[in-house]
């Protein structure tokens, strides 16, 4: 393995290290102990800043980091006295859910995370998760026994230049959690939002994880997630990526126990010059494990959307089943979609299906609607909506589905037409 050079992008890394040195002494141990932060900083230095020439970072918009004015997070003392931390207009609370509100990465209305967080071992392709370890100003540490419903609402105010929402979640055996994770932003100026999520699902536990990313238009969003599933655990993700100037999700799901299953369904809608990039790796490490992966992306105007879905079925995982369906719709003349399905199978007796298609709207569907007298603009809007429907309709919670639909409709230029459908 070659050593990672820091020449490319070294200026970014230098800025990060400078900001870290300046703020390290003030970062709260309750979020993460200083020695662990130092360890993360050393690891990032060792790995170096990622390069677009690396396969894993090919579609990420690394240059967006140049727009971030600084990497220091809001700190507990300053945020509590800051006017910007006053609660803004937030979406109504979800019925039956406990809301935990974070503004600029800091929990509002009471301390949480009584247990300081630990470190995840981020592989090189997830190295930006190390930023969360270095700079986190708060950690949501959740241990779930029995059934629970929690909404994590992360709001970035105009005061923040960088925030590092950090979630450490553990489900006890046979417990069940419905988790809504929502990132909202008011900041019109450039800012970094860098969430990390470390998830452990014990045997037979079930997590449904709704993720809505609606950050401000200049935000650089870099999201790193790791999940470990024990025997019979079930992890469902419904991810809706809409906001930010540049957004990357890097997720790594390990199906470690027999019969563990994951279902990842996501949509990304980009317009203007947005970049929405997802790199998802699922590892089947035990027998009879299952993956379902669905992605629908629409690139309007000059947006760029990428989905890199890597499924690895290890020799230790006979009887596994994986299905992957990736589809992209190019709607803008300067738009780009890159779908990369990758299936790596090291054992026999597995079932695997995968397909990836990118193109324009289906002419046959279009003609059908026109032949009913529906005008072209409405027909286009209807078909785009239908395209996203696979994922949107799979959102079981009506309030979350409506929020996702409204968000997605607002992101399409045909919002007025689609509004009548939602």
């Amino acid at each position: 393995m070659a050593t990672h050079s820091t020449t490319a992008g070294s200026a970014t890394l230098e800025r990060i290290e400078r900001d870290y040195e300046a703020v390290a002494a003030q970062l709260p141990d309750a979020a993460l102990a200083r020695p662990l932060r130092e360890q993360a900083a050393r690891e990032l230095r060792r790995l170096g800043w990622p390069k677009v020439t690396d396969e894993q970072w090919r579609y990420a918009n690394l240059r967006a980091f140049d727009t971030v004015p600084g990497f220091r997070p809001s700190l507990p003392a300053s945020a509590r006295t800051s006017a910007a931390a006053a609660p803004p207009d937030l979406p109504p609370a979800l019925p039956g859910f406990t809301r935990m509100l974070y503004i600029d990465g800091l929990r509002q209305g009471g301390a949480l995370g009584s247990e300081p967080g630990g470190l995840e071992h981020w592989p090189p392709e997830q190295r930006l998760g190390l930023l969360g370890d270095m700079f986190a100003s708060d950690t949501a540490t959740l241990k779930i026994r029995g059934d629970a419903r929690i909404e994590l609402l992360f709001f970035n105010s105009e005061a923040a230049t960088a925030s590092y929402p950090r979630l450490q979640l553990q489900l006890e055996p046979s417990s069940e959690l419905q988790l809504v994770e929502r990132h909202l932003g008011a900041a019109p100026q450039a800012a970094l939002v860098c969430p990390t999520a470390m998830i452990r699902l014990a045997a037979q536990s079930r997590l449904t994880h709704y993720r809505l990313q609606q950050c401000g238009p200049q935000t650089v969003f870099t999201d790193t997630l790791s999940a470990h599933l024990a025997e019979g655990a079930h992890y469902r993700v419904r991810q809706i990526a809409l906001g930010a100037a540049s957004a990357r999700t890097s997720a790594h799901i390990r199906l470690q126990g027999r019969g563990a299953a994951t279902s990842w369904q996501s949509i990304a809608v980009g317009r203007h010059q947005q970049v929405q990039d997802t790199a998802l790796k699922v590892e089947h490490l035990a027998p009879d494990t299952q993956t379902e992966e669905v992605f629908r992306g629409i690139a309007e105007e000059r947006a760029r959307i990428a989905f890199n879905g890597h499924i690895h079925i290890a020799a230790s995982a006979p009887g596994s089943d994986s299905r992957q369906s990736l589809r992209g719709l190019i709607e803008g003349d300067g738009a780009e979609i890159d779908l990369r399905p990758r299936l790596q199978i090291d054992t026999d007796a597995v079932r695997a299906q995968h397909g990836a298609t990118t193109g324009a709207l289906d002419d046959n569907l279009m003609f059908y609607l026109l032949a009913r007298g529906i005008d072209r603009a409405t027909a286009r809007a209807l078909l785009k909506w239908a395209f996203l429907g696979d994922v949107l309709r799979a959102i079981e919670l009506p309030d979350v589905r409506r929020a996702a639909e409204h968000g997605a409709a607002g992101q399409l230029p045909d919002a007025a037409v689609i509004g009548a459908l939602t």
């Binding site: 007298g373 209807l382 078909l383 239908a386 429907g389």
Partner: protein, 260 residues
Amino acid sequence: MSAANEGRAPLLAINGLRVKVAGQEVLKGVSLTVRAGEVHAIMGPNGSGKSTLAHVLAGRPGYDIVGGGVEFEGRDLLSLAPEQRARAGLFLGFQYPVEIAGVNNAYLLKAAINAARRERGQSELDAFEFLSLVRAKIKLMQIDESFLGRGVNEGFSGGEKKRNEILQMLVLEPKLALLDETDSGLDIDALKVVADGINSLRSSERAIVLVTHYQRMLEHVVPDQVHVLARGRIVRSGDRTLALELERRGYDWISAPAAA
């Protein structure tokens, strides 16, 4: 053609229509006149150009019009976009209706009927008016009302799709309905329901053109005229007895080059 109808201006006048698909001439000079109040059947062997004719009239892209013309109520039909043709009162019942998951039937019907109403200078239907209109037609087509909330043709059987086509036709009340192989894939009961739906639209103000391979639909929807399309031309026209003769003798005797 009824004698009373002969003096009326044609609803549809096709004159020497020639159409190429991928460089190949598929329609080689089709002429046909349809007046309000009439039902015409266009029959012919597979590959004779029947579906091409229906699609060209509805405005499907991908066809190269190389000769002739079509007038609809005196307007140049071929210069209109497909959506304009539909709003002018032309309806195509598809042989293979598409499935559009994520757009429900109610929305499609409402968008379509309001587009037609705007064209006619009428106000749009509100939710109550729309539902009462659609409910009556749904009942006639023996479709369960829950269908309104389902995606367009999503998971429908072949027969359900055809019934849905006729339902759309009944809601839109077109001046001219072109029904492309609507009878294919229907069992006897469904055929009867579909035929009843079509017959309910018959009036002195409208016309229906049935494109079909078999004459069994014509036992239920009795045509005024039957035309045989073969090798891109109408090679024979007659009354409904022509359809019975085709049923008995097949198409070979009429579509072979010598018969042209």
